[in-house]
Structure formats: structure tokens, C-alpha cells
Amino acid sequence: MTKLNSKIPEGQIHEKWANYKAHQNLVNPSNKRKIDIIIVGTGLAGASAAASLAEMGFKVKNFCYQDSPRRAHSIAAQGGINAAKNYQNDGDSIYRLFYDTIKGGDYRAREANVYRLAEVSNDIIDQSVAQGVPFAREYGGLLDNRSFGGAQVSRTFYARGQTGQQLLLGAYSALSRQIGLGNIEMYPRVEMMDVVVVDGRARGIVTRNLVTGKIESHFAHAVVLATGGYVNVYYLSTNAMGSNSSAAWKAHKKGAYFANPAYVQIHPTAIPVHGEFQSKLTLMSESLRNDGRIWVPKKKEDAEAIRQGTKKPNDIPDEDRDFYLERRYPAFGNLVPRDVASRAAKERTDHGFGIENNPTKEGVYLDFKYAIDRLGKGVIEARYGNLFQMYEKIVDQDPYQTPMKIFPALHYAMGGLWVDYELQSTIPGLFVAGEANFSDHGANRLGASALMQGLADGYFVLPYTIQNYLADQIGVARMKPSERPEFKEAEEAVKAHINKLMSVKGTESVDSIHRRLGLVMWNKVGMGRTEAGLKEAITEIKALRKEFWANVRIPGSADAMNVELEKANRLADFLELGELMAIDALHRNESCGGHLREEYQTPEGEALRDDNNFMYVGAWEYKGENTQPDLHKEELKYEAIEVKSRNYKTA
């Protein structure tokens, strides 16, 4: 009984996007001025979409909760961005990038979208260079590349360890230019509270001004959510403190299906947890795996001695070190995809080989000694100097002298709002871009692909597909929210929600409840999932939600700046989304990518997919509070690729 139409264009895989563009509807220049587009979020996807659409002549309103659009969390991406340029002449091509992305995603992504992503990847590099993004270069003046997990070619462009920052500042500069020209109205420190649907189409949003507390409505002919991912549902993650799922979740409750919520990515190389006040986890770029070797002691007594502080890592001779990735995956070694590397780390620490003296003994080594011996300290410093400095500031140890300590951490959400080929959700007129949608990474995302997808969606996909939608909307006159009952109703509902939060007047802080939600999610909806654990998680999340609504405390008032209220509003949504993630994980009786069900693995502990029964996108329809959501399936068809089981042992 599926209602999902992915609208994949006709033709061979490499002709689809060209066919689409050749036949899509356009809006003529004089009509563009009469059309408003709202974009929520100013990360790579949001800023690039806002700038590109404004350049084309549309009137754009862009919103972000931060004090400036330049703060969006895309800025924190360290490693790089993939593109199929084949500048290194090492056999790369659009097809190979497409193939690697589908395979890396464990055959759970939509073929046509991924091919398009690979196709436009090259344009992104050209665009960024034209904006003045200072990518790393060779002595001859041409662009440098590095290799990244899950690939056997060097196709990753980078700007030191700050690639996300540089790409975001590039998009932000394009956005700033359009703001300066008056084509974009920018609303910083404004949070979206709901989507407004008029006659079945998204026609605007309700917002809260975070400085004044004022609730307001904004009309647009189309709305784009580029609001990022939801892994802060785990409380501890590598996301920014403010990253949240509320925009997506509110849209979900208004009719947008949520796809594959169980697919989240655990990044293998974050700094291990240090204590109970820990507020976030800091990532050490995946690019470090190019030159660092991952190991734990071979002997349990050595691991124990290290945790007790009686032995140092450098006291362990090479023959007593277990380079477990190289041992298990000789073809890819330390460069296996993220999910494989993360699980392998947990496998070792679960068996007592962890090296960090934290409550869970979770930590492994990433050692640069070998690379320094081979290449010299200068080369390593040039490649990773700023990352090493950051590590030293946090951990107070020098990674040139002693191996880094790392452990997996929640990092990215592959799941998100369901979108068709045009990036349109199941609410007509509501588009979703970047990490907020589900479309390109399947069950696992490869390194250096998030930046690529965010910018592909914003610069090169949405500007086309949104026009196709708007072409027959030019006759729709701008609506005045104050004159429309739909906007008034939505505003009233938002105010009622806020009042309800403020009037709980309990005794527990928002963060204390959030931390507890995070623990349930990490332990039961995290790296290793079981049927029993997921069922417990569902019960525990429901109970926690009840407790939240009975006992949360928000000091201050709703009519002024109130940070606790902002956090409570976001947590209320996480407490619902967390349950949906567990439901999705429970229904998917297989292991794939970042989703590992312990019941479904090979005797050697490798994930076991069930292509006969689960080769589909699971899109959930909201059915009301405390009601089981409906599942809609989008079957995945692989025509350009042969489906195989993922194998990183032999190439």
C-alpha cells in the first residue's frame, strides 16, 4: 500500500539527470521575482541553495538558529570532499565514485540519486575554487588529493584539516553577496517551530525569535529544510551543541515521511569520553587513518596495565601489538569504511583490550610512529599539524610522542526525511537537502561524501528541481500570514506547545533528561542492537518522555531569550524521534552499514544483509502520539550495479 513515488527519470543511469534537465519546467526571469522560497539552515546545503536560488532571481528568506549563518555545523568537517576529477590519473571516474558510494552504503541507497551526486561532484570543486576556497596544492600549482576510507583511489580534495570550514565559508560568501544585493533576507537567531501547510502544500513556517521570544509566520511558495542531522538524540556526539532534529520532526508530524531513521553513523576516530560532565565528543579527522595505524595490545594484561597507568603504550613492543584492522582486512587495512572500523574497535574493547581508563574502558590507539619513521615529522606536521594541536589541547598528550587515543562516536545521520529524485518530501512544496534528507548514503556514508552531498543538493540539484515544482505556482499570489487561518492555527499551536513546556515547572533540568535519553540510545540503539534491547529502549524512551512532560524545569519566561526553553523544545522532539529510531531498527531484521543487529551476523562477526526481504527504504508515516507509525516501502532496484556482499578483506 505504498504511496511513494520516487520519480526516477527514464533512461540509462548516466542519461537520467541530463534527461531530467532537458525536459523539466522552468520559471521565466520576470516571474522568478514574484516567487518566495524559504530555506531553513545555512550549512553547506542551505547556504549554497539560498545563494544559487537568489542569483537566479528568486526571493529567498534564509533562517538559522545561530548568531550568524557562518556558524552552521558543516564548518566542523575536517577531512575533505570527494570528486571524480581523476586528476591523479589513478583510474577514477564518475562510475567508480558512484559504485563506491553505493557499495559503501551497503546497497541501501537509491541508485539514480547517487549517480547524479557523482556526476555533479566535479562541478562543486570548480565552483569552490572560483569562490576562492584555498584547497591544498602541489608544488606545480595544481590541486592535491588524498585517499579516504572505502576507496582505492585518491579523489579527496582538502584544505588542511578544515575543509568543511573553507567550503562553508565559500558558500557563506556567496550567500553574503546575495544578502548584500538585497536578494536574500537573512534571519539569524531565529528557530523554525513548524511548517505551515495550505491546501496540501507547504506554504511557510512559524518561527521563534530566540532573542525576543516572539512567534512569527513567514510565507513562501516553497520551503526547503536544510537543517542537518539528528545524532544529538544520543546527547554525546560530534555534532554542535545546538544541532537538532526539530525542523525535520515537526515536518514529519505534518505529513513528511521519515526514512531509515535507524541508519546513523558511528565515526571511528573521536577522542574517548573523559567524564560525566562531558558535553560533546571531538572528532579526529578520518584522514588520520591514512598515516596512523590502529592497534590495541595483544595481551589483556598489557591493556590492563595501560589502564592502570603502570605501562605506557610505547612500552609495548610491535610483536605485542594487535593491528586488528590490518589483521582482519588486509586489502583495505586501516582504511576500511567507518562502520567496519567502528565495530572492530568495539569488538576489541568488549573483549577487554580497551586502553582508556574510563568507566567502559573504551579506547584504542591510533599510532603515527610508523609514519613519522617513514616520512619524517615535518611531513606529518604539514598534513595534520592543526589536528595534533587540537588533540593536545584536549587530552594534554603529544601525539608525535605517544599514540593518540580514539574511540567511535556518533557522527552523522544517513536517515532523514524521505525525498523523491527532486528532493521533494511527501508534503508537496517541502524540499529537504543535505544531511536532513535520507537519499544518498544508504546505510553508511563514506568519508568526504557529506560535504559533497550538501553542496551537490544546494548548488546543482535544488536550483533545477525546485523550478520544476514552481513552474505552475507562478499564479499563486503572495499570502499574508495574518489573513490566513492556516498560519494563525499553526502559530496558536506553537504558542500552546511552548506554554505547555513552561508550565510543567518540575525539578529536573533539560540536560539531565537528555543525558539519560542519550544513554538509552547509546546502549540499546547504538553500535550493536538486539531485539530485546530495542524493545527495552522503546519502553524506556516512552517512560522518559512521560517524565519529561511531568518534571522538566525551565526557569525564566517564554517572552525573552531563554536557552533552557530552546533546549527543552528540541529535547521534546528527540524523545519522540528516539522511539521511531528504535522501531525502525527493530523492524529491520538484518544488519547493513551502520545498522548492526547482533542476531544477524556471520560467524566472523561481519554484518549479514538480507536482500530478499529488506532491500527497501523504510519510510515512516506519523500517525499521532503513542500510535504505531505506518511503514511505507520504496523498493530499491539496482540496474547499473551488481549487488554483492561488501568485502573489504580482498578488494
Binding site: E55, D67, S68, P69, R70, R71, H73, I75, A76, Y87, D123, I125, D126, Q127, V129, A130, Q131, G132, V133, P134, F135, R137, E138, G141, L142, L143, A159, Q162, Q165, L169, S173, A174, S176, R177, G180, P188, A240, M241, G242, H274, G275, F277, S279, K280, T282, M390, K393, I394, V395, Q397, Y459, P463, S509, D511, S512, P555, A560, M561, V563, E564
Partner: protein, 252 residues
Amino acid sequence: MSSKNINITVKVWRQQDAKSKGIFESYPLSNISTDSSFLEMMDVLNEKLVTENQEPIAFDHDCREGICGMCSLFINGHAHGPDSLVTTCQLHMRKFNDGQTITIEPWRSGGFPVIKDLMVDRSAFDKIMQAGGFVSVNTGGVPDANAIPIAQADAEEAMDAAACIGCGACVATCKNSSAMLFVSAKVSQLALLPQGKIEAARRAKNMVAKMDELGFGNCSNTGACEVECPKGISLAHIARLNREFLCAKVKE
């Protein structure tokens, strides 16, 4: 990691909103792990305030890994605190001693009005960027990324400048509230690259004019900004900005 716990007193600027007058309030805090970050210490304090049904202290922060530029804070007389080359969110409590009083103030500059407590309005920086901090290209129709080779040294120096996170510590530190280090970082980055060189003089002129208009002061070359900048942005960029600015004047 040799972690221990310390007891401290935090003296914080509290200000209800932009119009109210602010005052310092002191809060004792015990058992703070020296391995926790400065903002985690603030979290502990806020958690305590919420438990006591008081309003927590408002401060800006987001990424907590030194890259978004959202955190600020003037700590014991230093923008981003006593450590060098870090933002407040990367500062750790091991830099403080048992029994110490830590004074925390917002950025103080006419260009950055206080919103609440330690939070200030830095939208002036966005306005300066909107006046010229870009290369005037639209999406699409640009040449191949390798069409114009760029000397590695130039790309590296551009990257040094591009590392600015727009935090405003330079302004907060400067006795004249000058935004020259921030502006020069962008002007210099783009002037060093062939893509940005074309409109370099015009860019410098427009950004400086906007900076003056928004009430930031002049640069008197004291170099305090360079010392407090968490990203090590060099004064050399101000020299390049001055050159581009002169170029623009000569052309007029």
C-alpha cells in the same frame, strides 16, 4: 591525563537584556575536574542554577571544537582565556588553580552590543562580509578547477588567512575596537588568489567603508589582536589590506 578536582569562584557578568544595566555575580563551584573544558564548567554552574530555580547564564557556543567561532568570553582579562591559540570552548580547566577566582565578561565593544549576560551581537561582522567579502561569481559556468595553477606558497598563505573563524576576539581585545584583523584576513585571503585578485582593491575599499560606518575604531598597530587571536591570524594581513586599500584610493 593527570586529572584532579579543584574548587573555584566564578565572577560572571549578568545582564538581563540589551537595555538593562549589568552587574558581576559570584558563584562558588567545587569539585571541577581539571580535564573538563571551560564550557563544561559553565554547564555545571548552569545545571546548579537551574536546580536552584535561578536563570542560567546565557553564553554563545555551538561546535565546542574551536571552529564555528560562536563562543566568546573575556576570561581574567583575556579574550578566550589564558591559553594561547585556542577558543574558549577548547580551553581546559587544567589552566586554572585550586582556589582561583575566575572573572568572566562578555566581549566589550560598541560594535558588539550585549544581548544577555555573556552573549553579544556580532552581526556587524556579517554586514562587513556582505559589503565585499566574496568573489563575484554565480553558481555554474566557472572554469575547471585546475585551469589556473596557483603557487603552493600563495595557496598556503591564503589558507592561513582563511582560517579566521569570525569570533571577534580581535575587536574585543583592541583598545580602539578595531576590526582590522578580521577584515584583513578576508581581504588578504582573496587578494592572494587569482580568482579574488581581480576585485581586490574594490573589496578592500567596500569592506573598510562598512567597518568604519558600523563604528569600529582605527588600527593603531599595537598588535594586541594578533596575540589574542585563537587562529594565529598574522598582522601581516593588515599590511596587505593597507596596500589594497591604497590601490583603491589611487585608482579613484
